[in-house]
């Protein structure tokens, strides 16, 4: 790891100021991806701005929405009675990110800011049509994800909250990479009165994406069988040593059916 200056601001304004003052400053949330990246010397920040003292670790239900503070760890989301009741699919998803140790420290804000193409949270945020609240604005999920490791965030912008609309039904089905246990294919389905949204993580070449064909079919009939015969374009899939593009495309279908079945 290269050395850096460590800053732990006590409020959002100071954090933004520190980030804005230095183009090489980087924010540290849970650090579950960022610290390994630093260890591999793949990133050389001048200042690391620790966001843990900003008071962003909370969960609340407000105005028919589930609001999760950006620095809320996965384990907290997974164990939260509010989340389990209002949006159990999200608790389930959070409870299967990484391992127990990662879930104590990794945060929803960190996951979304990083937008790893095999992270789980982006699938939930996109499928649920959540909004991402930052220190300056709110961003719709459909506008937020802009390809792998790329988001709508400005360099000195900090995610503060994620607002989740509450669906009638939802579920997440993950096929884990056998080695890393990240999502090789993760499918989140969410049924609203207005229709069904489906988001896929892990599989696509450009990070998380919505599956229009699945959404159309499931909006007509929210059953696993509704997905029969609907394929996923192979040429948009990732391929690596763990799975070919056709395999991933196939798994997208399998996991989508499983998610629909789990959503009930």
């Amino acid at each position: 790891m290269y050395d850096f200056t460590y800053a732990k601001p006590a409020n959002i304004a100071d954090a933004v100021k520190t980030l804005a003052a230095d183009a090489e400053a980087k924010a540290l949330a849970g650090g579950m991806t960022f610290i390994p990246v630093l260890k591999q010397r793949l990133n050389k920040p001048s200042t690391v701005v620790d966001l843990s003292a900003l008071g962003l670790n909370y969960i609340k239900l407000e105005g028919g929405k589930l609001i999760v503070g950006a620095m809320t760890p996965h384990g907290t989301v997974a164990a939260s009675p509010e989340v389990k009741k209002a949006l159990p699919a999200l608790a389930e998803l959070a409870g299967n990110i990484g391992d127990r140790q990662v879930r104590y420290r990794g945060t929803i804000g960190g996951s979304l800011a990083n937008n790893d193409p095999s992270a789980c949270y982006p699938a939930a945020v996109l499928a649920l049509g959540a909004t991402i609240k930052t220190n300056t604005r709110t961003i719709a999920a459909d506008d937020y994800f802009q390809g792998m490791f790329t988001t709508a965030l400005n360099p000195d912008e900090i995610i503060t909250e994620v607002h989740f609309p509450l669906p009638e039904k939802a579920a997440y089905a993950k096929f884990a990479n056998p080695a890393s246990r990240y999502a090789m294919v993760g499918v989140f389905v969410a049924k609203f009165a207005s229709g069904v949204r489906v988001a896929i993580t892990g599989a696509g070449q450009n990070g998380v994406f919505r599956h229009a064909a699945f959404e159309a079919a499931l909006s007509k009939s929210f059953t696993p069988d509704a997905l029969n015969g609907i394929t996923t374009p192979v040429d948009e899939m990732n391929a690596d040593i763990h799975g070919s593009a056709p395999y991933r495309a196939h798994l997208v279908g399998v996991m989508a059916k499983r998610a629909v079945a789990a959503a009930g």
């Binding site: 010397r41 080695a179 890393s180 040593i241 763990h242």
Partner: protein, 791 residues
Amino acid sequence: MVVDGIGASVKRKEDLRFLSGRGNYVDDMNRPGQAYGHFLRSDVPHGKLNKVDISAALKKPGVIAIYTGDDFAAVGGVPCGWQIHSKDGSPMVEPRHPVLAAGKVRHVGDPIALVVAETKQQAKDAAEAIILDIESLPAVANLTAALAPNAALVHDEAKGNICFDWHIGDKAAVEAGFAKAHKIVRLDLTNNRLVPNAMEPRAAIGDYDVSSGEYTLYTTSQNPHVIRLLMGAFVLGIPEHKLRVVAPDVGGGFGSKIFHYAEEAALTWAAAKVKRPIKWTADRTEAFITDAHGRDHISVAELALDAEGHFLALKVDTQANMGAYLSTFAPSVPTYLSATLLAGVYKTAAIYAEVKAVFTNTVPVDAYRGAGRPEATFLLERIVDVAAREMNMDRVEIRKKNFIPKDAFPYQTPIALQYDSGDYLATFDGALKAADYAGFEARRKAAAAKGKLRGIGISTYVEACGIAPSAVAGALGARAGLYEVANIRVHPTGSVTVFTGAHSHGQGHETTFAQLVSEQLGVPHDMIDIVHGDTGKVPFGMGTYGSRSLSVGGSAMVKAMDKIIDKGKKIAAHLMEADVHDIEFKDGKFSVVGTDKAKSFGEIALTAYVPHNYPIEELEPGLEETAFYDPKNFTYPGGCHICEVEIDPDTGVTQVINFTAVDDVGRVINPMIVEGQVQGGVAQGIGQALLEHAIYDESGQLLSGSMMDYTMPRADNIPNIFVGTETTLCTHNPLGSKGVGEVGAIGSPPAVINAVVDALRDYGVRHVDMPATAAKIWSLIDANQPKMAAE
């Protein structure tokens, strides 16, 4: 009566320190004035090393010294400990393996420079300031590429990248067998390349005492005396009395810590230059590209059978990847540790094997748990299953029909080895029963009802442990003896310190060996210490690998204790004024036969050290004996493993549901430890069969270069593992023990793959190469429409 001697599941002595965080691994150690070393490594698979410019790096903060290949021009190369001769009698091509790359880099990870600095981070920082001029050359990243016509050469002197082209067995007899065959079954298979991944990464501290001229190397080794020999004699030219090698607690080895590595020599050498201790600890990422890998064979096997399914002849043609340089025991693995095992448990009449060893631009490949025997067993047990299917025979019956019967021992195989003992039917029947093989079809149906493909696989095996005797090993190419050494020091009060040349890095020697001593000398466990891993303390030794510690090292202890008892009897005879032939030693007491006169072991020990009333004219004082034990033969553990899997046809994911191992490991000293050894080996075998694969891309980059991409077995990949034993004793060592360290990793992979192929029987799948990953199985399912009707 000894209650915690041979046969008792004594809790381990070593556990208290490990469980309380007081183990002493190399990276836990720090020497006064210690500096830190960091190796700059090639990220180019194959290249001409034009220039290494260290001038800017030398000016970086904290830098003490930087060394490159030029600095090591005058010292020896990293040696190979086993020489194979090709068919034509020529010795293997043995290119120089420089400590630091000289002229060329030959694999990703090849060390180019050693940076010594005040801190680890400073050493890393400085390494980034070294400017490399490497002209990239075409690389050969796998066996097929290396053997292609006009392939790039890893070493100019190895034409066609061939290290040796060896054979064994009676080719004419095999051809005769094929000529009269009813059926010939052919199978092409790959034994997948693995990364050992002991949980403790390698580490070393080189130290030099300016006043005495003594070097000390602290290193993560399975065999410190072998390192002293190889590094002292062949690389650095340091005589034994000026070189001490210490291997303290070592966090797993599985073979990968047998070998002498370049880092050890570089650090030891540099410590004398900078006159300070230098410590280096590998990162896991570094381990992936520097620890010797395992397996990586491609074979074509052909089995000739008569109409009744008897095995007439077996022919095997293997290509074995050596990597970029010859690691310590690499040439022995595909040859004498593998091809000689191709008889397995079967009375195949004729066998012939050819092995081409091949250089590639990859990390050196050497022994990994099982070393050659898993490759032979996988090949044999797969082709037997394929043969059964193609002969329309039952998998159980074809095996039974061909087993070497228990009354045939000692059994001379057609391929060099003579098995001393075994009862293959006993382990086979034991495993079939324990696994409820008979009830399997009901379980298959139940699984099918919930949409899963269930399969069962059987594997039988015999392996060879404790390579011996030294004279034979030498004739086969070993450049060292393969005996073991024990020194038993009885202290004046009767406590005992045992100095053993074997090394424990998870095997629990401190417990098992104490049980031996307790049993034979009648001394309680808390009066016994086992010392290993320090050439400054232990007289000599060859270390721990090839499941040899008990059968060879333990036998040396028995021999040394025999000498102790013999001497004790003489002292006792003197004290009790009896004839030495009338002295009996039992349960820790020397007594005069037929009388109630007796002296305790402690009394005799005290007399030996306080020889006031002592036969001083005939006997030296003291009670300490050393034995070198050179076995008469290998030992031959064998057994049967049965695996049951379920495949999810939608995803291709295989889950191992049940695993049963029934092994014959000879006399068992500590059943708890034996079970643990088998379970650990089986988990590695399941890992090889389903998950693990070191994959290089065409250019020579390791794609599975971290635990993010190399699939290590986790708790939820492994089932409960039933371990049973059926014992026949080794006939030629005093303990009757055969060895247990590797059986799990040898027997299990074919059991798993046989189960996978069985599960896929309706899909017309004849063979699946390892690892049978979900992606691979799904593509087989996807490509093969179910052939339900045909079955």
